[in-house]
Symmetry: C2
Subunit: 347 residues, 2 copies
Amino acid sequence: MRTTAVYISTIICLLTSWNLAAFEYWQVLPKQPIIPASNPQTKEKIELGKKLFFDTRLSIRGDVSCNSCHNLAMGGDDDGAAMNMLGRNVTRSAPSVWNVGYMSTYFWDSRAASLEQQAEEHLLDPRIMAMQNAMLLESRLKNIKGYVTIFENTFKDKQISLDNISKALASFQRSLVVPNSRADQYIAGNKAALNDKEKRGYQLFQDQGCLGCHFGTNFAGPAPGPGLKMGDAFYELYPTIRGSQYEEKYDMLSDLGSFHVNLDPEHKLMWRVPSLRNIADTAPYFHNNAVNDLHEAVRVMNRVQFNYPITEEKVDDIVAFLKTLTGVYPKIELPRLPESDGVSLVQ
Amino acid sequence: MRTTAVYISTIICLLTSWNLAAFEYWQVLPKQPIIPASNPQTKEKIELGKKLFFDTRLSIRGDVSCNSCHNLAMGGDDDGAAMNMLGRNVTRSAPSVWNVGYMSTYFWDSRAASLEQQAEEHLLDPRIMAMQNAMLLESRLKNIKGYVTIFENTFKDKQISLDNISKALASFQRSLVVPNSRADQYIAGNKAALNDKEKRGYQLFQDQGCLGCHFGTNFAGPAPGPGLKMGDAFYELYPTIRGSQYEEKYDMLSDLGSFHVNLDPEHKLMWRVPSLRNIADTAPYFHNNAVNDLHEAVRVMNRVQFNYPITEEKVDDIVAFLKTLTGVYPKIELPRLPESDGVSLVQ
């Protein structure tokens, strides 16, 4: 991980020293994310993944589905739901699942290298879906005739396995693309796509330093591609500048980020850089949902990452720019889930 | 309420003594339920109600929507979810919302006379959506610009009010119709719609006595119409025959049903008769989710309501008939919910 961190630092130095036009480091959202060779997209797998995504029976008590915290009727996140659910002890915000296939690393602390790995971990995490083990989950789905048939028709090995469940979920998530934001239109060459205020905001976004981390396809650092393989972590120290009034106010120091994963002291307070796409639709902000308002999030970031002077007018301009990152959400038909035919499998 | 109970008893006596062909007391599901004059259906109101139905911001912590417990991806019920959610202390099963417009009375204990009244109560119930009062809910929605516009375009008084929220939710729920079950086809005259086993099951359903309560449009007693106005309660004693082994096993005596509403000793253990439409898709069964399996539910009902001898073969025939009551679910497009634009309203 240290190698990657160094690699990433080099990118940031280059960006900063060259001071190039920011959009050279941004790009119109590609039509689909990179698909791993080990899990090619198929229509059947995406459809199955959609059913599983909405199926509460993947949780031990049958009370939540993936969609409960990654709500596709909204910004693909939870509006605080995950941390607000009594009895679950979730301590981190659910990031948006829209455009998640363009990320190079998963979880706030960057502990999963792929969507498949992330899905497996969620299913078995005692605070989330809380299946004690793979067999319990598999046997529950094996009792649903409809799923038996669908898995048979979807996978060569025809098996209902944690591996196939995770693959289907990942395939569906890679289909969750929100294209054509006004920022995308601007990047593509339509200079009228942003108004003057938004253009000022874009320039400030670059000048204040935000671009140092929020570049690339997903405004979240480098996407996998030449020189960066899927799963290479990209994380930054937050807060970088210590001692501000925000540390206590927004509880910045109690969760140590990727340190909890690798116990490497250099990773204390290191966090994956979150995507800024559709950011206006994903309040509250930060790993712990501590900041309710996008204006305040910009103030906080400016203070604890750069500590450059900034006026309220400039904050407002940056927020105006950030709102142009909201794309056009595709329509989602609610799947019909196979029934267990007169029997409840949830106890 | 006593008057109604007597009225209903008369209907049952007539049914029993005439011993008429049961389907004369059943009917093909009408295209839509009776629409109250105080809340006419409009396309706009149904669309708004759908958004509200899926919107977790209607709950105090933003963690559940109506759909969390009345899941439209499945049988419109909760598969145990409501009672399984830690910290909520819900003690009763969430009945199916599909075809709910054909009921004449709402809640297991029959305490609401309309879907509108039921919606209001759910929104303010501290165990469910837990909004402390109407103003809190209204002010939350008033902070979502998209809703302000939609309410303006939907209601003459243009107001975001608990009354209008409940009306929109009720309108959407009245649109949730699941027609064309094989039983409907049979009732309509297609005698080939049921196979021999299912026909035997139907005859047993009548002979054992199930029809005494499970008749009418929704197989749940009389629907509103001539002689019965919306909100007239239809409830039955459960268990009727006391002393069986099931009382303790399935905890039949701790919740006293409509007695808790009116404190009338005659209403101890009185319950609204649940619909049998789509019953195979709504396990677990009974007000307390105590019975997991439809076969067992039939055994239990036969024992505690009639105590007639019944063989396992006959139970299986009745279950086969009950499974013909599953209709064709309409497609539901997931609504897109208006965003609060860079601010979280849930604390």
